[in-house]
């Protein structure tokens, strides 16, 4: 019974997560076109902007402090997409815990730890190495 409930939560996370992610990306795109941001820039300029390689900290500052709303909205959408599978993995840990399956609760927690390590440690480390 408990397993069924967690599965229902996983399905809801997938459904609402995707809808929310798409909504943010779409809002960012519409706004960037409305403000004529990026619209007629050549691809070479877009690529040069991409090559600024903002770190996670600088990026957070950019989307909270600067008024670049379209970029911020698109970025939030992308972050949502990255965190949907992570949320699914966390819910799977819960599913195993509810089933009292200790071995797989621990193994799935290891998977979550690896993914979070990638995002919060390996990524910033790689950013630092390239500076």
């Amino acid at each position: 019974m408990a397993e069924i409930n967690v599965r229902k939560i996983i399905r809801s996370v997938l459904q609402y997560g995707v809808a929310l992610g798409i909504a943010f990306v779409l809002a960012g795109v519409i706004l960037s076109f409305g403000l004529e941001r990026f619209l007629f820039f050549p691809m070479s300029y877009i690529i040069s902007l991409a090559k600024l390689n903002l770190s996670l900290v600088k990026f957070t500052l950019l989307i909270t402090v600067t008024p670049d709303v379209p970029l911020a909205l698109m970025s939030i959408g992308i972050i949502i997409f990255i965190f949907i599978p992570i949320a699914r993995a966390i819910l799977t840990v819960m599913m195993f815990a509810v089933e009292k399956d200790r071995l797989y609760s621990v193994l799935c927690a290891v998977v979550v730890a690896i993914v979070l390590l990638a995002f919060f440690v390996v990524g910033p480390f790689m950013h630092g190495v390239g500076r």
């Binding site: 798409i22 795109v29 820039f41 050549p42 691809m43 390689n53 698109m74 599978p85 993914v115 910033p124």
Partner: protein
């Protein structure tokens, strides 16, 4: 391509991602495989193109995940969890390799890898993919038994419950580690490799391995995308048309499954894979190599 305006890139990529999602869902290999090589054709460096493809993979895997909750056999989360330890570790190594190659300005290696993987997928489709569903119905002993991976599912075609007992866990995990490296390096979902390893090596029924692979694809792509995001290799305007195109494409592709002749979609996809694969090999300097 570099003088192309962003608006044109956006519209073209929206259409290409839509087509890739649609064809991928019709043929059953996912559309991510085409995205990163095609994005590089617009002059985007591979490491940024890989980010676009990975987010596209997450979007399609979420869409397919919702569909598999409504119908089909459930994913075997125990197998998925166990294999994820290997595949996510491989994905970290793969992404690390890509970033390093990009910083060392030896992108041609990535183009060559793109070309080889695309051609592999094209030939895999030509020979029919996983033609025979290999299932192990004999109970396992030893390590595999301790891992409690055996399960059962209701097959709607045969109208009976099918019990399966996965085996060769060590080999399966090794294959998945390799699949993770390819996925992290090239930004492909790796669904083809996942299914091959689970079905051919571990003898998990094809339908269960497809549902389990879907759970694994999302987490694997999130691992690599997480690294690329926090190291600054994800630039939202490059990715936006991919997300907005591939997700509706995959949803429509799944709806068209019973109405469109799959062989036609398969032929189109094979031709696209071959064309882009050869283009990638040329970009990787294979002609110079052969001389």
């Amino acid at each position: 391509m570099l003088f192309l305006s962003f608006l044109l890139y956006f519209l073209l990529m929206l259409l290409i991602a839509f087509g890739a999602g649609c064809l991928g869902a019709l043929v059953g290999i996912g559309g991510g495989i085409i995205i990163s090589p095609v994005v590089t054709l617009f002059g985007v460096p591979p490491v940024y193109a890989i980010g676009a493809s990975l987010i596209g993979v997450i979007a399609t895997s979420c869409g397919a995940g919702i569909a598999s909750f409504n119908r089909g056999p459930p994913a075997n989360y125990r197998i998925g969890t166990l294999l994820l330890i290997a595949i996510t570790t491989g994905a970290i190594l793969g992404t690390f390799t890509t970033i390093t190659l990009s910083r060392m300005r030896i992108d041609w290696i990535l183009y060559l890898c793109f070309g080889l993987v695309l051609l592999f997928c094209a030939f895999d489709l030509i020979r029919g993919g996983v033609a025979n569903d290999s299932i192990s119905t004999v109970p396992v002993t030893g390590f595999a038994e301790k891992l409690k991976l055996s399960s059962r599912y209701m097959d709607p075609v045969q109208r009976k419950e099918i019990e399966y007992h996965p085996r060769r866990v060590g080999e399966g995990m090794t294959a998945m580690f390799g699949a993770g490296i390819i996925s992290g390096m090239l930004g492909v979902g790796g669904g083809v490799f996942n299914s091959l390893a689970m079905n051919s090596v571990m003898k998990v029924p094809f339908k269960v391995s497809a549902a389990t692979s879907n759970f694994m694809l999302g987490v694997t792509a999130a691992t690599s995308a997480g690294i690329l995001f926090s190291s600054g290799f994800i630039f939202p305007p490059i990715i936006a048309p991919v997300i907005l195109g591939i997700l509706p494409g995959s949803i429509i592709g799944r709806r068209l499954l019973n109405r469109v002749q799959t062989p036609v979609a398969k032929i189109v996809l094979i031709l696209v894979l071959l064309a882009v694969g050869v283009e990638m090999l040329l970009k990787g300097g294979v002609v110079t190599w052969l001389r």
